[in-house]
Structures are given as structure tokens and as C-alpha cells.
Amino acid sequence: MKRKATSVFGTVALVALVISAVFAGSAGASPVWKFNGTELSGSEVVVGGALESSMTIPGLTTKCANFLYKLKVSNSAGLGKGEVTEVPLYNCTTNSAACTVKTIAAESLPWLSKLSTVSAKNYIVIEGVKVAILYAGEECVLGGTLVTVKGSAGGLVDNTVETATFNSTTLTATGTELKALGQKIEWNGVFPTEAFEWHREQALTVS
């Protein structure tokens, strides 16, 4: 009797495990932040500067030589989360001879972020992105116009080189988009990820 009960219990447990695995699979695994392979407990500050970054409305590309960020990360209920708290932008230019960037600033900080898995790839999705750009130039058609980039952006996390890459493919994959002047814009950026506090110089991975 006891053996039978154990057998039934074992079967139920196995079924439960299978069901939970199926649900986890269909909902997408919940990736978390890890340092040196160990799941982060508490929080950590990740900082970095874009290796390259540009924003394009057809015909006008804006680049910033210094595109820095500060991201506070943590894991909560088995999911990696974060808050982008600072995004200093300096030395921004355009590909137009007529247009310059007078001012550029990230607004409505912090921007909330979370990790997600799509087609077995891990992404960081940043929501509530808002960047105000004031273009200048007497001949620039946007001269004196404050252009606001708004929306959300998903970037592919590459554990091998510890970067997050944002481009049209990653935005499409994560169902995110950035808009300016009512237009869907292209954003390309590669951001290295590096711990700044307790886990400094430890390998940062997402899985």
C-alpha cells in the first residue's frame, strides 16, 4: 500500500514537473543576472559606454561619441530586472552638413528594464525610453525643433563578449520600437556590460 502510494505520488510529481516545464517553455524561460555563473542576490550597478551607437530617421543619422549608461540590476521572483538611472550623452553629431545637435538629454529616468528570452536568445528590454534632441543649424529643416525619441527597445545580450546589442533585428524580436516625429526610427548600439560595485571584474552573464 505504502509502495503504491509512493508510486502514485512519484507519478503526480513527475507530471507536475513536466507541466511546469511545458509552461515555462511556452511562456519563455525567465533569465536572471549572474556574476561568475552565480545568480545575483541583492542588486548591482552595471555601467558602460556604447562602443557604437546611432539613431536614424530616413536621411538623418544622429551619433553620439559618448553614450554612457548606468543600470541598477537585480533578480526578483526568478526574473532579471533593472533600472536605467543615468544616460549621459555627449559629443553628438549628425550626418548632415546643415544640422548640428544643440542639446540632447535622456528624460523620464529611471527607465525600467527586464530580461526576456525569445527563441532561445536572451534580451534586455528597456521601457519608457525618452530622449529629447534639439537640433540646430540655420539651414537645417529641424533647426530649433525639439525632437523626442520615445518607446521601448530590446537588445540582445551576448554572454561571450558581455555586451548588449540593439538594432532593428533585436527590436523586432522583442516587439519593441522607438519613435521620433511620429516615425519608427532605427537605433543601432553595442553596449558593453560591466559591474561597478560588489561584482567588479566578475563575468556578467544572463541565463
Binding site: L60, S96, A98, C99, E139, V141, L142
Partner: protein, 295 residues
């Protein structure tokens, strides 16, 4: 002697012709590339901060119960001032044609406007008079009802697809030999106030919300020119006054006929304007420089 005189006359004519050509050349703008559309922009007028050339290529106007598709392109051109509280004033085109008078045929013509034969005797007589006229077509032309500087534009709202982008006091000119030359819906004292948006409208019933579009942006001439294709300006929350001046001296009879058949005056929520087209914008300085650099 005669031969010599002929030669002198010919030479003089040739000189005059050349001089005329030269003068014509110096008077006309020499804009090139994407700037060519700004021929009528008042870019030398210090008030004009930007130049605009906007062509409505399609859409429709529903006035009361008459729907008029836009089949002939309508051009809005000129300049506009620096924005104050997000709105700029339009500056008149140099040729005076800020809004081109493009007549749109009213489907059904007069037959679609005048009442049927069950009308009173006088009306019947008018219908008879009318149908004996071979020119039964009616055109509707959108015209400005107030000075150009009372047309207000918000380039920010135009792009961001929110709030009102273009405020235009307008009137509709109904044209037909029977209606005379002064048959209008709207006037300078009682204009049709179009408040067009590229965003979403919120009209009173019976109309329901419709959505416009800022279109597809494209920067040309290294950021000096912005062209938006397939933009859609919409407003379906405007009211239209009664028609006036229709039928010349018989207007006291014809106006009520027109009003009854079109459904005028038409309260807010019963009319619609959908203007689909392409808009090109540049700074006045960029246009001026393009002109100077291309003698």
C-alpha cells in the same frame, strides 16, 4: 537704304528679345533639386522662417450629406513664421496663390443637389430651368475664407500625430452657371473652421473617431529639406453654415434648396475632411541659399 533699315530693326528686336529673356531670368528663382517646389516661397520676406509646399492628392470632403472626393490636386504653398506657442502663421505665396483653387466635381452634379419633382411649383420651374441647361455639373472648390496669416500650422503636431496641426478658416465655392458666381458655404464672417490633425479625432456623434497620419518622413538635401509622403490630415468635428449667394438674384429661393439638399447648416459631427498628400518643408534661408548658389 531700305535693306540697311531692316537690318537695324532686326538687330533692335533681337536686342530687345535678349534683354527680355535676361530680365525674365533674373526675376525667376533658380532653385534646384528638392528645392524646386519652393518657387513661390516668400523666402526673402523676413517673416517667413520656413517654406512649405503641400499637395493634397486625394481624400474627400463630406459636407452635410454630400461626399466630394478630391480628384484634382490642391496645393498649399508659401512660408510660415517661427512658432509661437507651437503654432506658426502662414505667409502668402509670392504669386498670391497660397491655396490653389482646384475645383472638385460634385458626384451627381446639380441632379444630386436639387430636389426631385415632388417639390413646390416654383422649385419645379427652377429644376426645369436648370435641366434645360446643358451645364449640369457642379464643382466644389476649397478656398481660404480669411487672410493667409490666419492659417495656423504646427509642425510639431504635424509630425507627432497629436492635437491640431493645421487650422484653416475656409469656405466651399459651389460653381455652376445656375448657382452663379457667389454660391458659398462659409464666408469671411462665418468661415468653416477646419482643425486638421494627423492624430485621432474625437468628434461629436454621429461621426466617430478617425485617424490621420504624419506620413513617411524623408530628409533630403543633407537635412535641409523634409518631405513627408502619404500624410493624412483629418477633421470630422467641424460645422458648416448655410449656403449663401446661390442663384444670384434668385438666391432667396435657391439658397434654401441647396441647404435642404446638402443638409446645411450642418452641425459639428456631420462633416468630414480627409486630405491625403505630400508635404515638403525647408528653412527659408536654405531655399534662399539654394537660389543664390544656382545662378
Amino acid at each position: 537704304m531700305k535693306k540697311n533699315r531692316t537690318r537695324v530693326v532686326c538687330t533692335a528686336l533681337a536686342v530687345v528679345s535678349l534683354a527680355a529673356l535676361a530680365l525674365a531670368g533674373s526675376a525667376s528663382a533658380k532653385l534646384v533639386g528638392a528645392f524646386t517646389v519652393f518657387q513661390q516661397c516668400p523666402y526673402t520676406n523676413p517673416e517667413a522662417n520656413r517654406c512649405i509646399y503641400s499637395v493634397t492628392e486625394g481624400g474627400e470632403v463630406v459636407l452635410g450629406n454630400k461626399k466630394v472626393p478630391i480628384v484634382n490636386p490642391v496645393t498649399l504653398q508659401g512660408g510660415y513664421t517661427t512658432a509661437v506657442a507651437e503654432f506658426s502663421k502662414l505667409v502668402a505665396a509670392t504669386n498670391g496663390i497660397t491655396l490653389s483653387k482646384a475645383a472638385q466635381p460634385v458626384p451627381g452634379g446639380l441632379a444630386g443637389i436639387v430636389p426631385d419633382a415632388s417639390s413646390p411649383a416654383l422649385v419645379k420651374a427652377l429644376i426645369k430651368f436648370f435641366f434645360e441647361n446643358s451645364l449640369t455639373g457642379v464643382n466644389s472648390t476649397l478656398e481660404l475664407a480669411k487672410p493667409v496669416n490666419e492659417v495656423m500650422l504646427s509642425e510639431l503636431h504635424l509630425a507627432e500625430e497629436e492635437e491640431v496641426a493645421l487650422k484653416m478658416p475656409a469656405k466651399f465655392h459651389l460653381e455652376n452657371p445656375f448657382l452663379g458666381k457667389s454660391c458659398f458655404v462659409g464666408s469671411s464672417t462665418s468661415p468653416v473652421m477646419l482643425e486638421l490633425t494627423t492624430g485621432t479625432t474625437s468628434p461629436p456623434a454621429p461621426n466617430t473617431a478617425i485617424k490621420g497620419s504624419g506620413g513617411e518622413f524623408e530628409f533630403l538635401e543633407e537635412g535641409r529639406v523634409l518631405r513627408t509622403k502619404n500624410n493624412e490630415l483629418v477633421d470630422n468635428a467641424w460645422s458648416a453654415p448655410a449656403a449663401s449667394g446661390c442663384g444670384g438674384i434668385l438666391s432667396f429661393l435657391v439658397n434654401p434648396i441647396i441647404n435642404a439638399q446638402i443638409g446645411l447648416p450642418a452641425a459639428k459631427g456631420k462633416n468630414t475632411a480627409i486630405l491625403k498628400g505630400t508635404t515638403t518643408i525647408a528653412t527659408a534661408l536654405a531655399v534662399k541659399k539654394n537660389n543664390e548658389n544656382n545662378p
